[in-house]
Symmetry: C2
Subunit: 548 residues, 2 copies
Amino acid sequence: MPALMGQMMQMPLLISSLIRHAARHAGDTEIVSKRVEGDVHRTTWAGIEERSRRFAQAMARLGCGAGDRVATLAWNGYRHLEIYYGTSGSQLVCHTINPRLFPEQIAWIANDAGDRVLCFDLTFLPLVEKLAPHLGGVQHYVLMTDRAHMPASSAIANLLCYEELVDAEDGRYTWPEFDENTASSICYTSGTTGHPKGAVYSHRSSVLHAYGSALPDAMDCSAADVVLPVVPMFHVNAWGLPYSTALVGCKLVLPGPHLDGKSLYELFEAERVTFSAGVPTVWLGLLTYVQSNDLKFSTFRRTVIGGSACPPAMMKTLQERFSVEVIHAWGMTELSPLGTLSKLKAKHGALPREEQQRLLEKQGRVVYGIDMAIIDDDGHALPWDAKASGNLVVRGPWVIGSYFNRPESPLVSVDGEPGWFPTGDVATIDADGFMQITDRSKDVIKSGGEWISSIDLENIAMAHPAVHEAAAIAARHPKWDERPLLVVVRKPGASLTREELLAFYEGRIAKWQIPDDVAFVDELPHTATGKIQKLKLRELFRDHRLPA
Amino acid sequence: MPALMGQMMQMPLLISSLIRHAARHAGDTEIVSKRVEGDVHRTTWAGIEERSRRFAQAMARLGCGAGDRVATLAWNGYRHLEIYYGTSGSQLVCHTINPRLFPEQIAWIANDAGDRVLCFDLTFLPLVEKLAPHLGGVQHYVLMTDRAHMPASSAIANLLCYEELVDAEDGRYTWPEFDENTASSICYTSGTTGHPKGAVYSHRSSVLHAYGSALPDAMDCSAADVVLPVVPMFHVNAWGLPYSTALVGCKLVLPGPHLDGKSLYELFEAERVTFSAGVPTVWLGLLTYVQSNDLKFSTFRRTVIGGSACPPAMMKTLQERFSVEVIHAWGMTELSPLGTLSKLKAKHGALPREEQQRLLEKQGRVVYGIDMAIIDDDGHALPWDAKASGNLVVRGPWVIGSYFNRPESPLVSVDGEPGWFPTGDVATIDADGFMQITDRSKDVIKSGGEWISSIDLENIAMAHPAVHEAAAIAARHPKWDERPLLVVVRKPGASLTREELLAFYEGRIAKWQIPDDVAFVDELPHTATGKIQKLKLRELFRDHRLPA
């Protein structure tokens, strides 16, 4: 017997439906932007939608058609938001590029993506002028500003002015309807090794991610919120906030280029921000400013912190001193990016505060849509006992199936079941589904079949007053295969011996996990985004002989 | 140029993914049921999933295959939940029937749906024994109980025992993967005129509805909640709560057949319920019990009230006396059912409490996924000014496109754009998108091109101390086409004249809206679900002559 089909309306999940919803049901809700030009700009969801339509018309006039990639090098602002919706809504593909990458990486990424148009903020004019000769496929350069701010001359021939393009159109444009699996945007990973790889999101995946990320156990977004994404719109689509804020129709505050403590604090207060999201470093700057000036937050109530692990002390300060709820989150470019967030269940309500805190410090539980597992190197699932640590794999409708321009599948199997994406993270999971990242899989030290977390070893070293920076890497060992080697930069003027540092580990970690040796160096190698290049370190210390 | 396709994992939105998620990530979270058998039963999401798989196996053993309809006549309980997931998850179609309908209606519905299996609670054995001879297509009758509670004999040949069926299977069953547009369940409308009509939900529509309904601006469900759906699982799938609670993995409390104030209160307290949902009548019973016994709620914090308009006095009591947030909602079977809920926006935070209250008393704003418009009888969109009232139309991925077994399309156009579902309600919408139902479209009184709300007229009449019940209907008028006629039942022993009642309207409503006449009757005709049958009233008073 054939299956019975549902008789529901067939409406594709399109990004244009998000901006239409916001314009229609929250039309006068404000979008406030700190502009690169220096002032504060105010518009509304209706205004954004209208200009997104004009931007779509302008791109069509430039000859762009379905599937063409339009790249951005831009801060968080209303024009960037218009490009998000104007491109995806008209079946173009929005490619946000991280301007903090090395210029050669940016050029490589733009060429790999096949970008046809590049839109950029005034800030990046010198950068783009240098890049342009290397961007063979880019036919149009659009400076995201008005006529008054356009340069008198530029190394870029035919530099276009964003406001002129938008002003020339009438906005009489109907968002087209098409397959929800069409590409909506591309983001590149900033891999520490090899070339960056492109994740090609679809309209369907972006809309489902917007639903999932707005849920109470995720970012908890509602129309009662005022949301300020500190996380850049060039960093995995600002964790989806440009979409989820449209979905709930709330006020959006876009901070532009200045993310120092003073600038952020003043914007939080002036615009009555209730919710924000960003990496730990940003909160450090904000907290330092607020504490040293003895200030308080009037409306700020909760924040999502992700990108890297949030130091427990920072969580404590935000929660206890400022009554700001910290939602610790984990995700990655390949996950659009949301994977897990740490929110308590009803059963945890009666736990002592300290135990609750320990749960909140983990990376947390999956949002419905994502499933996860931890596996050993043979692909066997490991138990969820908060002890076994293994390679974290995920799947779901907003997880990539493959990378752009890469024919090989990155997916792996779990106990023979194919279709899981290997995150490259090593984690534990407890019986309640709380996941905790313990390492990157390529950094974990495999000693006699047991895994030692390089992060744990580094955290202990960093707690020593004479240590400026430390990295734990695997060194070859004839009996145990690998044993931990600590590479350490001393604080200026500090003295510290190998024996003193190793003694510092006693009682802080299991004896067999204590590093076998310490190498002191003047500095550690870093990537453009500030991560330690452990691959380079491993190469440098390939021939290091551990003491017997 | 062909469009670029996304490169995300292709995973269909299936109802089985909800129960798998709950079992995997909230496996030990409790499902508590007050049983028809009298006791309290406790299981978990993992337990429900395991027995759902066995139920799916049992149905296959009975010969059921993809698309077959399995009907239920059952209260809110764990077995009903297992049937929800066991049927839909295995590509059968779950057809929940409202046992409060007249037996002839139940038979008509079961035959129209082509039900092949009927599962029912002990309570309904006498009903089903009477119905069985009229259910030609039903091949298997399953009594939802254990062997000990099976009747010694029954008019139904080969009556099957639910627990025996489930016990006979081993649960080694993998949820199949199939097209997300496959039918998952059927609910029939309880129309006041003509035969009931079937809405055929799909897996896709049910999962999207679950996402939308759990959002902070909707039911705001999280894993920190303990949810008790008072709304029956035979009433539009308990407003989707069996799905949205699995989506968030929260504790679920199913109250069984006893919905009186005392039973509910004791369950709320014993199980630490934080959130509930139901029609106004239920809350009346609960509030009466709690107030007359001078009790308080320890954990109950918010409730969704829908199905019919919530009296403002009830909202006030719940909010002010018991600190229970009331979320006023509107929906219908054809919308799965959620359409709008009333939650304030950030801009309303500074309004005086009384103005906030007036907004909260409206039916509210759409959840993303639903769009709405109000139109005049010619299909032209009317302004959102809180004054113009028109026919409410909606669209979205969880709105029906057509009815089961009905070839004609119910959809209409808005300003020439096709594809909108006419709700049969008349409403206003304000500039912020807050919708307020003013009438049913077939009940509105059209006087000289202006619309008069029958509900407004009835509310005023009901406020008169001598009125027991009142209905306002349209009477033919030579000049104005229609003018309001009030049909009234006096309170026992009360005296009230036409002139006294009409004088009562002075100052309470615009002069031209005051009814032209009053007809006193002994009783009003009602449907099985307690609604006034206005069609019958209009027939009775077809020849009524209004005074000149």
